[in-house]
Symmetry: C2
């Protein structure tokens, strides 16, 4: 671990240290309670009946035999859910999304992919539930299906939604198609620039293809729902955002938010995909029907076949540059898979595509395309890795064409503080150049390359989010503190939240513990995602801590009978600055022990909509050795640098950088959904869907750039979780391309593809 | 139900109505989760090895054989707990209590009652745990024991604690005894008044005896403890106060408060007894030892034999009065059982004894006495029923002696607003006289009495508590609200808290739900007890609701771009009073839906130490028919009147009045601990320990007196839970005494005692 820390940390006692993760031991020991670990008296097991067809009309569902089975307590189909078209009117914006979620969790008229749920059963055992599924009779009219994105865009493609007319096109098309939306982003005049030989001295172009990949969380989706006899519901669920689950279930089932308490279980990974609902509304509906708690847990195959992978797609890039390396124009065309319902990551991908570069003339076009695959879900920096793969590959091609060092070419063109992005934001307080320079001056960049080995570099950008967070800080009678948030802890946020509270209040880290509270116990908090938690929830924690300090000062002033303006708080104690008063300090523990006498328990809760995030910039370099006989690529060295603002808990920042790199490497080299002719996934298991494991990867070296702490966060934090998955796709492709001296423009770079390239003429 | 409501309720929309209890249906349907209902993966079953002797020295405990049993995972004895003498020094006040709790949950050197725990075992099944208990070998030196309170005070009694020297006596005694403390309270000169024939025109005296009775909660003590690998603990427990459980376990086990999360399960009754710990520290210690969750549940016999009954005791009363009925002097001598460790209810009993009467000369003496019985615990208005039984019986005797109507005699002597009690408080805003008048004018009081039937009247006083409470109010995006408190819901507080929030904010009751949060999720909250929750936690709820309203007004002002001083909140909506601005209202739902845009989620948390409770005064009248052949007493009519301030949810106030009366009737007529010669309880089960059931009692009529709302509570609430258990003992005894024309001065008034009295000459 290589800290290039220029931040003055002398004043900080806790922030920037690396204490032990409080929830770590239980997770390692198998004692933490995940989504499937709860048992309630009378609890039933729920299972889902899924479509065997990629595209079919549902002519009828007969549950008579299933209901007659002893032990079967409840069965739901779409008929048991409210008509979301009606809800849509009330909700306005986002209504289509909600309607689609409703149709995705339980098919209404058509099944749109193999694995699409058609019914759910709750029974006294998993075995009986499975029996019930087997005897539910669904009468299908099988329809032609389409899997590939460009095939789905063809005029004669089977159309999934008869009521879908491409948005973003004027005049609105009169024929339904699989193109949900066309987007465009532009600046300057790209067409004119490409036509101007003084600007377009060099032009490169390419067509880059990525496969949809699954988020690959280890814990399958799981929940337990309990509908009370009093109209109140409780839901335990493995999720990145129990408040969002509450909102969605509330709308899908017409339950007031105050009647639905959602408790976040420990979560075994989510990576963006556990920000929506699949089983949860079914479990609630089943429990409501039979009045008993219902547990639902997916198998690994169900996770693959019916929860969101990320978009795959085709990105065409054309770049123009002057001979000195100034990039003058860029055209980007994206065709991205949304899965069965609208909503690929094409919007984000468009905004991120050229966010790293200051290019005067830009034209970006994108298509959001549905096909007979599971509905896509968010995956770490949704969209950005896809467009970055294309742009960073094209930049590499341009560097070769120009004969320039690929880092120098990038340094010449990257955004700086003050740059305005094509999507409108003005960048402030960024240390992107320093991050690139750190890689340039790193021994890795200068190390000699053995035979059959190539080196690739690539950049990555992510917005980083703010949004709503709430936090409370409670001081116990013994002077220890509890931090309460609504952010499920995925990357170590219990530790980092406790650290920021400890730093602010002046307590040792060990005397502060953080918990994740349920939706009713703490204020609304948006998902753990968008690289927002350390920033936004951290800000709420610090503000709550500051309110606690104000209260502690008030108690001290009361105790000393002095004016509160004469009380200072430092080093975890109140100090009286009034000359006539005794100068001794009154520590937190002493004040806490007498709280009842000075007004009652000490604590504060803060809710906010955090503003002022700073985007994330990552630069990765990797060396890949290609076995010329098999085409197998092995990552032999990998270094990741990132503008992290200030690292609250450096080990977790490094962990995010390493985790993002590892996932990106898997995306680049091996992962893909393979389909048979019927549109069924061929590899819905970890043996055949090949994610990298520890033995596949070298130690990933990390360089945290801490020269530009975010001035809009109390401790300078910037989001760090997503940027690191953006560069690896292109970094790996560039490395393999150099290793085999052939440009690889389609992922994954699986051995057969690489071998084919090696055996080609190019 | 008979409301004598003089309060103007016209302005109130929710407070004072009787909505359905939200947790009621689940409790009735058997779906609510109580202390024993949780299952965790790997959970063990814990059981306690208990003393078969009433008094013995522990010479050794050999757990070798038990540890060798397959399936036994952990065993603890007192040796596994820290030396509380050391902790005591740190804690100061209350240290002795803590040390005693430590010795009570697990005997250290001596066992002091049959059922006193000596070891605890956690095993993979209850059966294996039971086997393990059987092979734990304890070597005892059996000592002489003493059960009766007066026997325990005798100079030659076996002494339980060699280090206990009667407190409250000067000079401090040099010989250890079973008298833990002597207390005294006085006013004027009682001795001189008794000696003055103009003041003591009439003198009555008597010796009144009560039996210790159990709180009789239906749910046996139960908990599940889970010690994490990271030094953090979670405890699920049926309790009246999870914060108090946290404090006690933290001190008994040396766990920082921030490391111990206590979650209150639903509670099947507590009545004061579930405000301390028995199994909880054992379960935590067992879980810590083996790293697995441990569940512990008592049997009914264990509940009787080793959890606190209330004190029993002897109260001697002497009253002097003038012929006109003015009571001029009172002497009270109390000898109360504490059980095996100091701490009977004698202090409270002394303060309550004459709190209902304005008597110029008072001398009260009390003794807190240990004996070989389970350590007493609080029971609804602890102490007050014992001294009230004596005083209210003596007043009845005085009325007979004077030939006065017992209500008129009381009306002549009771305290009024402005009276100062013997313990120092000045009474304010009380409606005691109105309560007595209500009974006097009630048809019951004038109804003719059939043969063999007597009528008794008695008064009851209780302090009513304030103490620390916390509450948060969260507004969800759909405009519904959640109220968060730390008060376990025993008497319907989820409903009453939601009602007060709904009233304050201007929401319909159905759009507000209340939850009971765990110790880490909400600020410190003292027990559900002391008749404090509706008052103190309600005050916190109202204050949090008011903070929410301030925030809602701020959002509205922001939306309208007007000054917040021009925004009024009424009927659940903001109204702009600025003449230039549109006058339309902005409702809660509209503001909540846009909260993200106006600063983030809406909510507030408040903690306070509530001041300004108002004591409770109850007047009960009952008619009892005595079967002259068997001595069996049957309550044929019962009316309870009470000064309730203002009833937030009248049905629950009536429920408290009825429940208190029912428990007091059981205490008066049937309940008692019966001991064999070895000091073992003979009747540790509901078949032999005879609590009244529904078929034993008539409908208990209630009269809520609402003429004096408490001006120090936003909705005028006074505590109501405890006062109603105070009068029934004397009311029943007076009724039986009148029915059989013989004074009954010892409880319970079981058929054999009454028959014996009937057959006596008196």
């Amino acid at each position: 671990m290589n800290d290039q820390t220029k931040v003055d940390r002398s004043a900080l006692k806790v922030v920037g240290t690396r204490p032990i993760r409080p929830d770590g031991a239980d997770k390692v020991m198998g004692r933490a309670n995940f989504g499937a670990d709860l048992r309630l008296p009378g609890m039933l097991e729920g299972r889902v009946k899924r479509s065997p067809h990629a595209h079919a009309r549902i002519l009828g569902i007969d549950t008579t035999k299933a209901r007659a089975l002893p032990g079967v307590k409840a069965i739901v189909t779409a008929a048991d859910f409210p008509d979301l078209e009606a809800v849509a009117a009330e909700i306005g914006e986002g209504a289509a999304t909600l309607r689609d979620i409703g149709r995705n969790i339980l098919a209404r008229d058509k099944v749109l992919y193999v694995g699409h749920p058609v019914a759910a059963v709750a029974a006294t055992s998993i075995e009986i539930a499975a029996q019930a599924l087997a005897v539910i009779e669904v009468n299908y009219e099988v329809l032609p299906h389409v899997i590939d994105v460009e095939a789905a865009m063809a005029p004669d493609a089977p159309v999934l939604h008869a009521d879908m007319f491409t948005k973003g096109v004027k005049p609105t098309p009169i024929k339904a198609s699989n193109i949900a939306q066309k987007i465009g982003l532009s600046r300057g005049d790209a067409a004119a620039a490409f036509a101007d030989p003084t600007l377009a001295e060099v032009v490169v172009q390419g067509r880059y293809v990525t496969a949809p990949v699954h988020q690959g969380y280890l814990e399958p989706n799981a929940c337990v729902a309990s509908a009370g006899s009093d109209g109140q519901y409780t839901l335990w669920v493995s999720t990145q955002g129990h408040f969002v689950v509450r909102t969605l279930c509330s709308r899908l089932l017409h339950i007031p938010l105050s009647d639905l308490r959602v408790i976040a279980a420990e979560i075994g990974g989510g990576f963006g995909a556990k920000t929506t609902v699949y089983l949860e509304p079914l479990a609630l509906a089943l429990s409501r029907q039979c009045g008993r708690p219902v547990r639902m847990v997916m198998s690994r195959a169900e996770v693959f076949e019916s929860t969101g992978p990320t978009s795959g797609g085709v990105t065409e890039v054309k770049l123009a540059a002057k001979r000195d390396g100034t990039i003058t124009a860029a055209e980007v065309l994206m065709k991205y898979q949304a899965g069965a319902f609208a909503g690929s990551s094409v919007n984000n991908a468009g905004m991120c595509a050229l966010a790293s570069y200051d290019v005067a003339n830009i034209a970006i076009t994108g298509y959001d395309v549905v096909s007979n695959r599971p509905k896509c879900a968010a995956y770490r920096a949704p969209g950005s890795p896809l467009s970055a793969f294309a742009i960073e590959s094209a930049i590499d091609e341009l560097a070769l064409e120009l004969g320039m060092d690929p880092i120098d070419l990038r340094l010449k063109n990257i955004v700086r503080s003050g740059s305005q992005t094509v999507y409108g934001a003005t960048l402030r307080d960024i240390a992107f150049a320093e991050t690139l320079e750190a890689i340039k001056s790193h021994p890795h960049w200068r190390a000699p390359l053995p035979a059959n080995t190539g080196r690739g570099v690539a950049l990555g950008f992510w917005f980083n989010g703010g949004y709503e967070s709430s936090a409370a800080v409670h001081i116990a009678e013994d002077g220890t503190a509890t931090v309460v948030t609504g952010s499920p802890d995925i990357g170590g946020s219990r530790a980092s939240m406790a650290m920021m509270a400890a730093e602010t209040i002046g307590l040792p880290y060990e005397r502060v513990r953080a918990i994740v509270a349920d939706t009713q116990a703490i204020g609304y908090t948006f998902v753990t995602g968008g690289s927002r938690v350390t920033f936004a929830t951290g800000m709420a924690v610090v503000q709550a801590s500051q309110k606690v300090i104000e209260d502690l000062k008030r108690r001290a002033a009361l105790t000393w009978a002095c004016d509160i303006s004469k009380v200072e708080w430092r080093d975890g104690a109140a100090h009286c600055t009034e000359s006539a008063k005794p100068q001794q300090a009154l520590g937190l523990k002493a004040i806490a022990g007498k709280a009842a006498q000075t007004g009652g328990p000490i604590g504060a809760e803060v809710s906010l909509n955090a503003q002022g995030q700073s985007p994330g910039f990552a630069v990765h370099v990797c060396d890949i050795e290609v076995d010329p006989e098999t085409g197998r690529s092995t990552v032999v060295r990998y270094t990741a640098a990132q503008d992290v603002g200030r690292a609250i808990h450096p080990s977790y920042v490094e962990g995010q950088m390493q985790g993002g790199a590892a996932q990106g490497i898997g995306w680049a080299l091996n992962e893909a959904y393979l389909y048979d002719a019927r549109g069924a996934m061929l590899n819905p298991g970890f043996l055949d869907y090949r994610m990298p494991v520890a033995s596949d990867l070298p130690m990933i070296d990390t360089i945290m750039i801490e020269v530009a702490p975010n001035p809009r966060h109390p401790y300078g934090a910037k989001g760090v979780g997503e940027a690191p998955i953006v560069p690896p796709l292109a970094a790996c492709a560039n490395a393999v391309s150099h290793a085999i001296n052939r440009r690889m423009r389609e992922l994954p770079l699986a051995p057969p593809s690489v071998l084919a390239a090696l055996q080609s003429d190019q």
